[in-house]
C-alpha cells in the first residue's frame, strides 16, 4: 500500500515543556490510525503540526512521499489534509450547506449560485454517504449532523487525509456508532483517517493500527486486531513509577470522616450529567488520590464541592454539617482549602498584587480590617511572612501575580489556602501541572504535611505518577462514576490505569472487537 502521510523525528517544545519528542510514524492510504495517550501526551500538538497550526522545531513531514512545509491551515488543506476540530468551526446562522462551502462558494459573477451550491453539497454528501439536511440552519442541527457537516467541509475542499480530534467526545452512543460506520466507508473509498482518542474501547473497535503516545514520545504502534485494552492501557500509563513514592502511609487508618458525600449528581455546562450519583468518604489524615482522564466528571465534582456549580441531587457534609446549599465562602469558612486546576483563571487575579491575592479570603476578618478600611500593617506582615514561608520568589508583595512564573503563582495560592493552618479539608486539583521540579517537590511536601497534621486531602491530578507517589487511597473517575482502586500497594498503578481507560471491570483481554 502507498504511504499517505508520515512524520519523521518531529520535535516541538513550548517554554518548559517538551510536547513532542522525536515523534515518527507512517500512515498508509486507506488506513484508520488511532492515536491514543493521556492528556498531555502530545497527541494534540502533533495534530496541530500536521494541520499547519504549529511549526515543528525539527523533523519533517511527508505527504504522499513528498516533503512538505506546512505553515498554515491553508497549506495543509492544499496538500489534502482536513481537520475536524473538537469544537466545531461552524457559523450558527448559516445553513449546513453554506457552512460546508464557506470560503469556496460556487458563484455566478458576484452572486452565489445557490442551485449549484445545494447540488454540489448534496452530491458529495451522497458520494460519501454522509447524510445531512443541507438546508437546515446549523444552530438547529444535532451535534452528529454538525460533525458530518464538518467532515463534508474537509472533503469538499479535497481532503483525502482526515484528522479527527476526539470526535466522539461530544456524541451520544448511537451517534458514535453512526460515525464509525461512516469512517469505515470513507476508508474503503481510499481516505486516510487519523483518529485521536483516549477511549480504548472505541479505538479497538474502529482502528486498523494504534499508536500510543506518552509524555511526548511514541511508545509504540500495534496492529489493533493483535492487541487488547490491557496492553494499550499499560502502554499509555507506563509500568514504572518515576520519582518514587514520597508518602509514608500512617499506621492508624481509622479516623474521623471529615467529608461525606452521598448520592451526589452534578450537571456539566452543557446540562448533561457529569457526576452520576456518587458516594465518597474522606477521612482526616488521609490523602485520597482521584485519578481519571480529563472530562470524566472530576472537574464538575470538585466545582460542586466548592459551591461553584450546583449539585443536582445529593448531600455534601463537612464534619457532619450539610453544606451543599452553602455559598463558596460558606464552604471555605467550614474549613476547605482549594487549589484550583486553572491557576491563571480561578487561582489568582493576575492583575492584582501578590498581597491582594494573599488576602482575598481574609480581608473581611479581623485583624485585617476594622470594618471600614484594610489594616495595611497587618496585611503586609501576613503577606511578607507567607511569601517567606512558601518561598515565593519575588522582589516584593506589590508585584502583580500575573508577572510571576507558574510555580510561584502556585506558591502564592498555596500560601493563601494553606498558610493560615485553618483547613480541615484540602482540595488540590492539578497542583503541580507545568511547575518546575523544586516547586513540585515543595507543593507535594505541603500536602503531605497537611495530611500528617490531620487534614483530609483530595488530590486530583492528570499525572498518574503524582497520584501514585502521594495517595493513601485511590479512586478513579470514569464516565461520571467512581471506581475504587483501594489502598496504596506496590503495583496499584496497573489497576488504576485499567480503571482510567475502561471503568468497571478494568481491561478485559477477551473484549477485543476485531480479529485478524
Amino acid at each position: 500500500m502507498a504511504e499517505a502521510i508520515s512524520v519523521n523525528n518531529i520535535t516541538k517544545t513550548f517554554p518548559g515543556v517538551l510536547a513532542n519528542d522525536r515523534v515518527s510514524m507512517e500512515i498508509e492510504k486507506g488506513e484508520i490510525r488511532a492515536i491514543v495517550g493521556e492528556n498531555g501526551a502530545g497527541k494534540t500538538t502533533l495534530m496541530k503540526i500536521l494541520y499547519g497550526l504549529y511549526r515543528p522545531d525539527s523533523g519533517d513531514i511527508r505527504v504522499k512521499g513528498e516533503i512538505v512545509k506546512l505553515s498554515s491551515a491553508r497549506d495543509a488543506i492544499s496538500k489534502g489534509i482536513g481537520m475536524v476540530h473538537q469544537h466545531f468551526m461552524l457559523v450558527p446562522s448559516f445553513t449546513l450547506a453554506q457552512n460546508i462551502v464557506l470560503g469556496v462558494e460556487p458563484h455566478k459573477r458576484v452572486f452565489i449560485d445557490e442551485k449549484a451550491l445545494i447540488e454540489k453539497v448534496q452530491r458529495i454528501s451522497d458520494q460519501y454517504n454522509l447524510d445531512v439536511n443541507v438546508n437546515k440552519l446549523t444552530l438547529n442541527a444535532s451535534v452528529g449532523e454538525q460533525q458530518r457537516a464538518e467532515i463534508l467541509k474537509a472533503l469538499y475542499r479535497g481532503a483525502d487525509i482526515l484528522i479527527l480530534d476526539e470526535p466522539t467526545a461530544v456524541l451520544t452512543d448511537i451517534e458514535t456508532k453512526e460515525l464509525f460506520s461512516m469512517l469505515r466507508g470513507l476508508a474503503k473509498q481510499g481516505k486516510t483517517i487519523l483518529f485521536i482518542s483516549h477511549k480504548l474501547r472505541e479505538v479497538l473497535e474502529i482502528s486498523d493500527n494504534t499508536t500510543v503516545m506518552r509524555q511526548g514520545k511514541v511508545v509504540g504502534t500495534v496492529r489493533t486486531c493483535e492487541t487488547d485494552d490491557c496492553e494499550l492501557a499499560e502502554m499509555m500509563v507506563g509500568r514504572e513509577t518515576i520519582g518514587g513514592r514520597i508518602r509514608e502511609t500512617p499506621e492508624n487508618r481509622e479516623k474521623d470522616v471529615v467529608l461525606n458525600i452521598e448520592n451526589l449528581s452534578v450537571l456539566n455546562s452543557r446540562d448533561l450529567l457529569a457526576v452520576k450519583n456518587i458516594n465518597l468518604e474522606l477521612h482526616s489524615g488521609e490523602i485520597l488520590g482521584i485519578a481519571g482522564v480529563d472530562g470524566n466528571g472530576q472537574e464538575e465534582f470538585v466545582e460542586a464541592l466548592m459551591g461553584l456549580r450546583p449539585a443536582l441531587t445529593g448531600k455534601i457534609s463537612i464534619d457532619g454539617q450539610e453544606v451543599q446549599e452553602f455559598s463558596t465562602r460558606g464552604i471555605r469558612e467550614s474549613g476547605v482549602a482549594y487549589i484550583p486546576s486553572d491557576r491563571y483563571r480561578s487561582g489568582v487575579a493576575v492583575d492584582a498584587a501578590i498581597w491582594e491575592n494573599l488576602i482575598t479570603s481574609e480581608y473581611y476578618n479581623k485583624p485585617y480590617t476594622n470594618g471600614m478600611s484594610l489594616m495595611m500593617r497587618e496585611i503586609n506582615n501576613l503577606s511578607d511572612s507567607l511569601v517567606k514561608k512558601f518561598q515565593v520568589s519575588t522582589p516584593g508583595i506589590n508585584v502583580k501575580a500575573g508577572n510571576l512564573s507558574g510555580g510561584n503563582i502556585q506558591r502564592v495560592i498555596a500560601g493563601r489556602e494553606l498558610g493560615l493552618d485553618k483547613a480541615k479539608i484540602v482540595i488540590a486539583s492539578q497542583p503541580t501541572r507545568g511547575i518546575d521540579i523544586s516547586g513540585t517537590e515543595a507543593i507535594r511536601q505541603m500536602l503531605v504535611d497537611y495530611a500528617d497534621r490531620g487534614a483530609g486531602v483530595l488530590l486530583l491530578s492528570a499525572d498518574l505518577d503524582e497520584i501514585i507517589a502521594l495517595s493513601d487511597r485511590i479512586i478513579v473517575f470514569y464516565n461520571g462514576k467512581i471506581y475504587n482502586a483501594g489502598f496504596w500497594y506496590e503495583g496499584i498503578r496497573q489497576v488504576v490505569g485499567q480503571l482510567m481507560t475502561g471503568g468497571e471491570g478494568g481491561c478485559n483481554a477477551e473484549d477485543n472487537a476485531q480479529t485478524c
Binding site: 476540530h85 468551526m89 464557506l102 470560503g103 469556496v104 458563484h107 452572486f111 475542499r157 446540562d271 441531587t313
Partner: protein, 318 residues
Amino acid sequence: MGGIDLSRIFTLSLFATTFRMATPVLFATLGGIFSSQAGIFNVGLEALLNIGAFFAVVGSVNTGSPVGGLLYAVVACVIACLFFSVVHLELKANAIIVGLAMNIFASGMTNYLLVTMLDSTGFYQSDLIIGFKTVEIPFIKDIPVLGDLLSGHFPLVYIAFFSVWLVYLILYKTPFGFHLRSVGENQDAAESVGINPKKMRYLSMILCGVFCGFGGSFLSLSYLTLFSEGMTAGRGWLALAAINFGEAKPVRSLIACLVFGFADALALRLQQFGLPSQVVLMLPYVSTLVVLLGSAIADERKRKALNAKHRSAETALT
C-alpha cells in the same frame, strides 16, 4: 384638543414626510449594519453623519455641485472610518470607547473647521451651497395617491430605500456577504477556511463610511441646504437603536427607521396645530424608547423560552 381634525393630521403628505425624515437614519443604519454584521459595534454613527453633513457643504461650495458635495462627504466618512478601524483593529482599542471618542471629536472638529474653512460660527448658510433638486417621476406623479406619496422626493431618498434591497443582496447573496457575516458570527470558523477577519472588518467599515457619507449629505444638501452645529440631532443614535431592533438585518431595521421617521413627521405636523412644542418634539425619542422596549421584551421572551427548554432537559435527566 377637540378642535383638532384627525383627517387634517394624517394626510398623504405626512407619510411623504415620513420617508424624508427616515432617510438619514436609514443611511446610517445601513452603514452600521455592515460593521455590526462583521462584529464591530460602531457607536460612532452620529459622528459620521456630522462629518458627512459638514464635508457635503464644503464639497458643494468647492465644486458647485451637490454630487461633488456627496463625494466629499463619502471620502471624509471613509477616512474617519479607516481611522476608527486602525485604532480598533491594529491598536486594539475598545470599539465603544473609540466610537464615543469619535462622537466628541467630530462635533469639535466640525465646529473648528466651520470657523477656519467657512468663516462662520455655529451655522453656515449661503447661496454658494448647491443642494439636490427634487425628482418628479414621470407617470407615477400623475397617479392620485401614489403620485403624492412617491414622487417629488430628493434623489437620496430613493437611493436610501433602494439601498435596503442592495444591502440585503450584498449580505445574503454574495460570497463577500457570507464572508463578512461569518467573521462577525464565528471568527475561528472564518479563519479556519482562509477568510481574513481583519480584512473583512476593514471592508465593512469602509462600506459603513460610504453609507454615512450619503446620510450626512442628505442632511445638509437636500431639504435644508446649510450646515449647523448639532444638526444631526441624535440620528446616529437612532440608527443604533434601529440596528439593535432589527438585529442588524436590513429589512427589519428599515421598519424601525420608518417608525422613527413617522414620529418625526408627526412631530413636525403637530407643531402646526399649536400643541406645546416641548411635548411634540419628544415624540421621536419616545418612539425610540418604545421600539427598544418592545425589542427588549421580545428578547426576554425568547430567553425565557430557551431557559424553559433547558429546565425540561434537566428534569428529564433526573
